[in-house]
Amino acid sequence: MRWACILLPQLALDSVLRGRADPDAALALISGTPQRRVLQTVNPAARALGLRPGQSLGAAQALSRDFAMLEYDPARIERAQQFLAAWAYRFSSHVSLHYPRCLLLEVESSLGLFGPWPRFEARLRDELNALGFRQRIVVAPNPAAARMLANVHDGLAVDAAGLAEALGRMPIERVGFTREVASAFARMGVRQLQQVRNLPRESLAKRFPQDVLRHLDTLLGERPLALRCYAPPDRFDVRIELNFEVESHQALLFPLRRLTGDLAAFLAGRDSGVQRFTLHLEHRSGEDSSLPVGLLAAEREAAMLFELARGRLEQLQVPAPVQAMRLVARDLPAFVPQHRELFDERPQQSLPWEQLRERLRARLGDDAVLGLGAVADHRPERAWQAAPVARSETLQQEAPRPAWLLREAQPLREFAPRILAGPERIESGWWDGGDVRRDYYRVETRGGQRAWAYRRVGDDGPLQLHGWFA
C-alpha cells in the first residue's frame, strides 16, 4: 500500500482567505479569552508587519493597526476539513482524517485511474490550489510515516526500501513523539530518529513509556496504524431531473411530493426531524432559484413537509423553465414527538397552533405573522413591539399598561379629560439616543373611553395620546 499525506499547513487561514476578495491584505485570526486575546494565525502580509502567532492582540496593535481581524473559529476549520475529505473521496475510497489539519489517502489502488503518481500528485495540487488550500504532499508506505515526513518534506515519495533512511534523518521533535518524550530525548543529546534506533530497545523500554517503541514500530511499518475511515456525511441531498422543462407550479408538485416524501422517509430512518431545508430549481442558464423553507420546530411528517414546501413554492415567481429540482436538508435535529391524548379531543377542522402558524407564514409570508414581543424597557414604545413570532413569552408588566399602544403618539383631541391617575414619570433610554422624558396620565374621555396620554416633562402643550385601555 502507498499512502499520501496531504498536510494543510494553513487550513484555518485558507478556509477564511478563500472567501475573501482581498486575500493579500494583512489578516490575523484571533482567539483567547476577552481578557487576553492572542493572534492564532497570520497571513504573509500580516507577518510582514511583524505580527506573529501567539502574540497578544495588544502587542500586535502596538506594532500596527493596518490589519484585519477575524475570530479563529474551530467550527469553520472542521467544515473545511470535512469539505476536503469529501473532495478527496473522489480520488480514493480510503480517506482518513486521523490527524488534524491533514488528509490521508490510500493511493496505490487509485493509481490505475489517476496515475502514475507524479501526474496524480500534480492533479491533487492543481485542484487544491484552485480551491485555495495550501498543501504539502508526501507519499510513504504507511500513513504514519507519510504524516511525519510531511512535517519536513514536500513532494517526497519514498518506497519501503528508502523509508528507514528517510525517517532516520528526521529531527526528533518532528516525528510525532509527545512533547515530553521529544524534549527528554533532546536533553539526552538525541537529535535524530536514527540515534534512537541505535539505542538498545530494552534500555529505551526502561526509560520511556511503552508507546515510544510502539510509535517507532508504527513509523517503520512494523505495526499497523488503526485508521478510522471517512464516511460521506449524514445529510439529505437528492436531485430529481425532470424529463422536460417545466414552467407551471402545478407540474412541479409531483416531483416536490416525491422529494418531500423521500426526505420524510430518510428522516424516519435516522430518527430525526428537519428544521430547515432548501429547494433548488435548476434552470438551463442562469443561477438556480433557491427556496429556503424554515420551520419553527423539527418536523418529519410527509404531508406537512409537502404542504409547507408547496406554500412557499406557490409564492415564487419562477424566472425561467425548470430542468431539475433538488432538495438539500442539512439541519436534521432529533425529532421530539408531541404527546397526544388517547382520545384526541380536537375537532377535525382545528390545527395545532404551531401548524397553523406555519401554514399562515407559508401562505402569507414571514412578515405577515407577528407576535407581541415584550422587551424589558421602561419606554413604552420599546417595551412591547410587534416582533417575528418566537416561542411564546409572557408579558410581564408591573404597572398598568394599555393593550393597544399606538404606533406613534398623536395629540389627544380632547381639551380637559378627566385624570384618573398620574403623572407617572418615565425617563429612560439615553443610551441609544432615544431618551424620553414624559409624564403619563390615565385619563377618561367624555365618551367614557380610557386612554393613556403623556406630556413631555417641562412641556405645557396638549396631552399626547399613546394608547387605549381595553
Binding site: 496593535q61 506594532l63 536533553r187 418615565i426
Partner: protein, 1032 residues
C-alpha cells in the same frame, strides 16, 4: 394631596440617601449631596449607605464644610425579612449600628452581607428605624418591626412619580394607621441631581453585569431619586409627612466627634503609667545603644521628646510600636521604622529605627508638634518574607476584635472606569480593551482625543461621547473596599464599637471599613507594618558574613562614613543595592558624587517626580558642583533650604516654606499636606495655588518661583516622598552599599537568596559579581544547598556556590531533601541520590538538565540518561547496586547547547556570556563592547550590541524610551528618542539582542548612547532564553 403653596416651602430633612460608597448604586459623592442639600435648604441629611459606614467620615467632612447636620445611618435588606433604614440617635445607637453591620458583613464573604432576623433580638436602643414597606407581607413585617423598635419605627413613604402615586400614598397611610405607627416622607436618594440619571443607570447595569440596553426593569423608570427641591416635595407629600422628618432629625444627636479611641492598656504593667513605663523602657535600653554612656545631646533630645509625648498623650502609640518591633527582634526579623516620628532619639533607643539621629546631620524639627495637631506617623518595614509572622503576632496579641487592618477604598482610575462604562454601553470586548489601553493604567484622567483617534475611535460619535462623559463622572468614585497592605488599627475596646469590621479576602484577617485618611480625621492611630525585600537580603547577608567570618554586623553598628563605600557609589557601581540601583539613579550618582550620609538622603529623594516636575534637580546639581552660586529666594528661607543648597527638594521644605514665606498657620500647612496627598483624587489644590501666589508675591517673591514651587507640590502629591522617609531608606542604602563594597560575595549571595526583589534578577547580580572577580561555582548536588552559599576561595572573598533554588521548576521541598540527605552522607551515585532524597521524576529531570548531577553522572546528556534509568526499587533491594546496563554513547553537549540549557534551567550561566560567544561576529559588524567605551571620546558615532535587559518609558520623559543593553563586560544605557522609537517600534519592542548605532555621550563618567538606528540581531541567539524586563 396638598397643593397649596406657602410663601416659603416647608422644611425638610432627607433621611434615606445613598452616597457612592453604596458601590455601583449611589451616583454622587457625599460632598455633592451635601452641597446640593444645602442649596435646597434642607434641615439635615442622612447618609444611609447599604450596610456600610465606609463613606461616613467623608460625609462627616462634607457636613462640616457645608454646615449642614449629618445623620449617620445605614440601609439594610434583611435576608429573611424587610428592608429597613436605621438611623443612629446617639453614641449607643451608633455602636449598635456598627455591631449589626459587623455581624452581617462577617457572616458573608467579602463585599456582601447577610443580615438575619435573629440579629434584631439584641437590644436596639438608640437606633431609629424607617421602613419603606416594600415586602409582600407588610402587616406582618410591620408588626415584627414595631416590637423591636417600640416608639422608634416609622413607615417611610417614598414617592417617585410611579404609576399611581396617589393610590400608593393612600395605601401606605392606611397601613400606618392600621399598625399605629407614624409615617414620614423620605426620598430613597441615589444621586444629588437628576443629571446623574445616566451614570446611575450605568452603575446599575455594571452591578448586574449587563449592558444598559438589556438591564430593562433593573433600571429605575425615572430620575426622581435625587435631592428634590422642597417646593416639589410639598406638591407630592402631605405636610405632616414632611414635618415628621424634622422631628426625627432633631432626635438624631449623634456626631462622629463623640467617638473616643483608646490605646490598648495591657502594654503597661501594674504599677506603671504609660509615661513612667515608656521612660523605664528608654532608660533600660540606653546601655544597649550607648555602651559608653549616652551623649549629652542625645540625652537632651530624649528628654525633650518624652516631655512632648507626655503632653500629647501619645505614649501608648510608641509602646505599641515598640512591642511589635520587640517581637520582630526576638524572632530575628530585621525591621526599620520610618516617618516623621520614627527618626527620633526615642525611636532609636527603643529599637524602632536603626538610624542614630546623631549620625545624620538632619534637622528633625518635624518630630511632633503641639500646634500642628498631627498624629505621630511611624511605618515599620519588615523582611518581606516574614512580615506575615508579624501580622499574625498582632492578631494573636490583641485578638481579631481589637486589631484589624485598615481598608483602602479602591477608586476608579481611567482605564477601569472606561472599561466598565464601555461594557455597560455594550461595546465589544476588543474595543473595550483598545479603549482601556488609551488610558494610562493609573491615570485619573480621560484619554486624550488624539490617542483615541490613533486607536481608531471617533471621539465625536454619539456613543463615544456618552462613554467619555460617563467615564469622566465615574473616575475617582470608590469601587470597592480592599485591604491596606499593612496598616493596623489596634484599640482597647472592641473595634466594632468604633467602626464596622469586615472579613478580608485573606482568611484570618479582618478589616475595618475606613481607610487611612478617615482614621486621621476621627483620631484613630495606625501602625503600618510593611514588607521590604532589601531587609530580607540584609539579614541574610549579616547571617552569611557571621557564619563565614564570625563577625556579626547590625544596621546600627556598620562603620559610618566609609570612604571606599562612597567611592564605589560615586562610580555608580551599585547593581543590587537599595534604592540607588535604577538606571536613572545610576546616571545621577557620578554627577552627585555622594560623600556623606546626608548626600544619600538627597540621592534617594531626588530622582522622583516631585523634584523632577519642579525642575529642581539640575539647579541642585549645578550648585553642588560649584557651577552656580548658592542663593536663597529670601533671607527668611535660608534655614529652610540651607541643607539643600537653596533648592527645595523635600516635601517638608515646601511645608516650611508655606509657613515661613506665605505665612501659613500650622493648621493651614496641615491642610496643604492633606490636599497634596489627595489632589489627584479630589482636587482641592487650586485654592492653595491662589493663596500661595497672592501671599508670596505680596511679600516680594517672584511669581515664576511660586509657580515652580506649585508644580513641585503637585509632583509630591502623586509620589510624596518626604525627607523623614528618605532618611530611613538612606540608612538601608548605606548598609547595602557597605556590604556590597566590603562583602560583595555575601551580598550577591543574599540578594539571590531573597529574590524576587529589587531591580535586577539573579543572572544580572551574578554577572556583576563575576565582573568584581568573585568566583562562582555551578549547581552540584554534591555541594549545593537549597540557597546559594559561600565557599572558601583563594583570595579574601569567598566564592559563591549556586544553590538548588536557581533551578527553574525544582520544588523547594525536593531541594531541601537533597540538602538533608547529603548531610547524612555523600551520594554514591544517581540511584542513591534519587532514593535517599525521594526525588520524583520531575525533580530528577530538573536536576539532570541543570547540570547538577555532573559529579555523579557526567555531562547533562549522560545525567538525563542515567536518571531516566533509575527504577523505583522495592525497599528490599535498597542499597544494592543496580543491575549493570550496557553503556551507551551519547554526544557531548556543545558550548552553545550548554549555554542554551543553562539559561533554560538556571536563567543564568557560569560559562561564557552569550555575547562573548558572538563577539567575533559582532566585531565583524563593527560593534564595540561596553569595556571599550571609557576610551571613546564624547560625541563619537559607534555601533554597540547587547542583550536587551530593560526597556523603560518614564512618565516624566515625553515619549523617550530608555533601553539597557548588557554584554559580557557590563551594561550600557541607550536613549531612543520618540521619533526613532515610533519608526523602529518593531525592533524596539521585539529584539532580544539589539545592535544600536548612535552617538556616544560621555560626561562626568556617565555614558549614554543616543540611538540613530536599531538593528534586531535576535536570530544570532536562536533559542536562548533571555528574559527582558519590560516596564510600561
Amino acid at each position: 394631596m396638598n397643593h397649596t403653596h406657602a410663601a416659603s416651602p416647608p422644611a425638610y430633612a432627607e433621611l434615606h440617601c445613598l452616597s457612592n460608597f453604596s458601590f455601583q448604586r449611589g451616583a454622587s459623592s457625599a460632598q455633592e449631596l451635601f452641597e446640593r442639600a444645602r442649596q435646597h435648604g434642607y434641615a439635615a441629611l442622612a447618609i444611609t449607605d447599604e450596610c456600610s459606614l465606609a463613606g461616613i467620615v467623608r460625609a462627616w467632612q462634607a457636613a462640616k464644610k457645608t454646615e449642614l447636620a449629618l445623620i449617620v445611618g445605614s440601609e439594610m435588606q434583611l435576608e429573611d425579612g424587610p428592608k429597613i433604614i436605621l438611623l443612629a440617635e446617639d453614641l449607643a445607637g451608633y455602636q449598635r449600628l456598627c455591631g449589626l453591620i459587623s455581624v452581617a458583613r462577617r457572616r458573608a464573604k467579602k463585599g456582601s452581607y447577610r443580615l438575619l432576623r435573629e440579629d434584631f433580638e439584641e437590644p436596639l436602643d438608640g437606633l431609629l428605624a424607617l421602613w419603606p414597606a416594600q415586602g409582600e407581607t407588610p402587616h406582618a413585617d410591620g408588626r415584627w418591626l414595631r416590637e423591636r423598635f417600640p416608639e422608634r419605627l416609622w413607615l417611610a413613604v417614598e414617592l417617585h412619580r410611579g404609576p399611581d402615586d396617589a393610590r400608593r400614598l393612600a395605601q401606605l397611610l392606611a397601613l400606618a394607621t392600621d399598625l399605629g405607627i407614624p409615617a414620614v416622607a423620605s426620598g430613597d436618594v441615589h444621586m444629588h441631581a437628576r443629571g446623574r440619571r445616566a451614570l446611575q443607570d450605568c452603575m446599575s447595569a455594571i452591578r448586574h453585569h449587563l449592558p444598559v440596553a438589556e438591564a430593562g426593569h433593573r433600571l429605575f423608570p425615572n430620575g426622581e431619586r435625587h435631592l428634590r427641591r422642597r417646593e416639589e416635595l410639598a406638591g407630592l407629600y402631605p405636610a405632616e409627612l414632611l414635618e415628621e422628618t424634622l422631628r426625627i432629625a432633631a432626635r438624631c444627636r449623634f456626631d462622629l466627634g463623640q467617638l473616643r479611641y483608646q490605646y490598648p492598656r495591657e502594654l503597661v504593667p501594674e504599677g506603671h503609667t504609660p509615661t513612667t513605663w515608656l521612660r523605664h523602657l528608654a532608660e533600660k535600653n540606653i546601655p544597649w545603644r550607648w555602651p559608653l554612656g549616652i551623649p549629652d545631646k542625645a540625652r537632651k533630645n530624649l528628654e525633650h521628646e518624652l516631655k512632648l509625648i507626655a503632653e500629647l498623650e501619645y505614649e501608648s502609640y510608641f509602646l505599641t510600636v515598640h512591642d511589635i518591633v520587640q517581637f520582630a527582634r526576638n524572632e530575628r526579623i530585621l525591621c526599620q521604622g520610618r516617618g516623621s516620628a520614627a527618626n527620633s532619639t526615642l525611636c532609636f533607643v527603643l529599637g524602632i529605627t536603626e538610624l542614630d539621629p546623631a549620625n545624620s546631620n538632619l534637622l528633625f524639627e518635624r518630630f511632633l508638634s503641639k500646634e500642628r495637631n498631627e498624629p505621630p506617623d511611624i511605618d515599620v518595614d519588615f523582611e518581606h518574607e516574614r512580615r506575615e509572622e508579624v501580622i499574625q503576632y498582632v492578631f494573636r496579641r490583641y485578638g481579631r476584635t481589637r486589631a484589624a487592618l485598615t481598608a483602602v477604598a479602591s477608586t476608579y482610575h481611567g482605564a477601569g472606569a472606561v472599561r466598565d462604562v464601555a461594557k455597560a454601553l455594550g461595546l465589544p470586548a476588543d474595543q473595550i480593551n483598545a479603549l482601556a489601553d488609551c488610558c494610562g493604567r493609573w491615570s485619573g484622567e480621560l484619554p486624550p482625543e488624539e490617542r483615541l483617534r490613533e486607536a481608531g475611535f471617533d471621539p465625536q460619535s454619539p456613543i463615544m461621547r456618552r462613554v467619555l462623559a460617563l467615564t469622566g463622572e465615574l473616575i475617582g468614585f470608590p469601587r470597592h473596599l480592599s485591604q491596606h497592605p499593612g496598616g493596623f488599627v489596634i484599640s482597647e475596646q472592641p473595634l466594632h464599637s468604633l467602626v464596622p469590621v469586615e472579613n478580608a479576602a485573606m482568611a484570618g484577617r479582618s478589616i475595618i471599613q475606613w481607610d487611612k485618611d478617615d482614621l486621621d480625621l476621627v483620631g484613630l492611630l495606625k501602625v503600618d507594618i510593611l514588607a521590604l525585600g532589601m531587609l530580607s537580603a540584609l539579614r541574610r547577608c549579616f547571617d552569611l558574613v557571621e557564619r563565614y567570618r564570625g563577625t556579626r554586623w547590625e544596621l546600627a553598628t556598620l562603620p559610618p562614613n566609609d570612604k571606599p563605600t562612597y567611592d564605589m557609589i560615586s562610580r555608580a557601581d551599585t547593581v543590587g543595592v537599595f534604592q540607588i540601583e535604577s538606571r536613572a539613579q545610576m546616571a545621577m550618582l557620578p554627577r552627585l558624587r555622594p560623600k556623606e550620609f546626608y548626600d544619600l538622603v538627597i540621592e534617594v529623594a531626588i530622582v522622583r517626580p516631585g523634584p523632577i516636575q519642579g525642575d529642581m534637580v539640575h539647579p541642585y546639581l549645578r550648585r553642588r558642583n560649584g557651577e552656580e552660586e548658592v542663593t536663597y529666594p529670601s533671607e527668611e528661607l535660608v534655614p529652610v533650604f540651607e541643607r539643600t543648597l537653596g533648592v527645595p527638594l523635600f516635601q517638608e521644605q515646601v511645608m516650611q516654606l508655606a509657613i515661613v514665606a506665605a505665612k501659613y498657620t500650622p493648621g493651614e500647612a496641615d491642610q496643604l499636606r492633606r490636599s497634596m496627598a489627595a489632589w489627584k483624587r479630589h482636587g482641592g489644590l487650586e485654592p492653595h495655588r491662589a493663596k500661595l501666589m497672592e501671599r508670596m508675591t505680596r511679600r516680594g517673591y517672584p511669581a515664576e518661583f511660586v509657580a515652580r514651587i506649585f508644580e513641585q507640590i503637585k509632583g509630591f502629591g502623586s509620589y510624596g516622598f518626604p525627607e523623614s522617609h528618605a532618611a530611613s531608606f538612606a540608612l538601608l542604602t548605606y548598609a547595602s552599599c557597605w556590604l556590597k563594597c566590603h562583602e560583595p560575595a555575601a551580598f550577591a549571595c543574599a540578594l539571590i537568596n531573597s529574590w524576587p526583589m529589587g531591580f535586577y534578577n539573579p543572572d544580572q547580580v551574578l554577572q556583576d559579581a563575576r565582573r568584581h572577580c568573585i568566583a562562582t561555582h555551578p549547581v552540584d548536588v554534591r555541594h549545593s544547598d537549597w540557597d546559594c552559599s559561600l565557599e572558601p576561595d583563594a583570595g579574601d572573598q569567598p566564592a559563591i556556590r549556586l544553590g538548588l533554588r536557581m533551578i527553574r521548576g525544582l520544588a523547594e521541598d525536593a531541594g531541601r531533601r537533597v540538602e538533608a540527605a547529603r548531610a547524612v552522607g555523600p551520594f554514591a551515585d544517581v540511584a542513591d541520590l534519587v532514593r535517599r532524597a525521594a526525588l520524583d521524576a520531575r525533580a530528577r529531570e530538573r536536576l539532570a538538565d541543570a547540570g547538577a548531577l555532573r559529579g555523579l553522572a557526567g555531562h547533562r546528556h549522560r545525567a538525563r540518561w542515567a536518571i531516566a534509568g533509575v527504577e523505583n526499587q522495592a525497599p528490599l533491594f535498597a542499597g544494592l547496586p543496580s543491575q549493570e546496563e550496557i553503556q551507551v554513547a551519547l554526544p557531548l553537549p556543545s558550548v552553545g547547547e550548554d549555554l542554551h540549557a543553562d539559561y533554560a534551567t538556571l536563567s543564568t550561566t557560569l560559562g561564557p556570556h552569550p555575547l562573548s560567544l558572538l563577539r567575533s561576529v559582532l566585531r565583524n559588524r563593527r560593534c564595540r563592547s561596553s569595556r571599550e567605551l571609557p576610551g571613546i571620546e564624547h560625541g563619537k558615532h559607534i555601533g554597540l550590541a547587547g542583550l536587551v535587559i530593560g526597556r523603560q518609558r518614564p512618565q516624566t520623559a515625553s515619549g523617550v524610551v530608555f533601553v539597557t543593553l548588557e554584554d559580557e563586560f557590563g551594561m550600557v544605557n541607550v536613549v531612543v528618542w520618540h521619533d526613532l522609537a515610533e519608526r523602529q517600534r518593531k525592533v524596539l519592542v521585539g529584539a532580544q539582542l539589539m545592535q544600536v548605532d548612535g552617538r556616544l555621550e560621555s560626561q562626568n563618567g556617565v555614558r549614554h548612547l543616543i540611538a540613530r538606528r536599531l538593528i534586531d540581531l535576535t536570530p544570532l541567539l536562536t533559542g536562548l532564553d533571555v528574559r527582558s524586563r519590560d516596564f510600561r
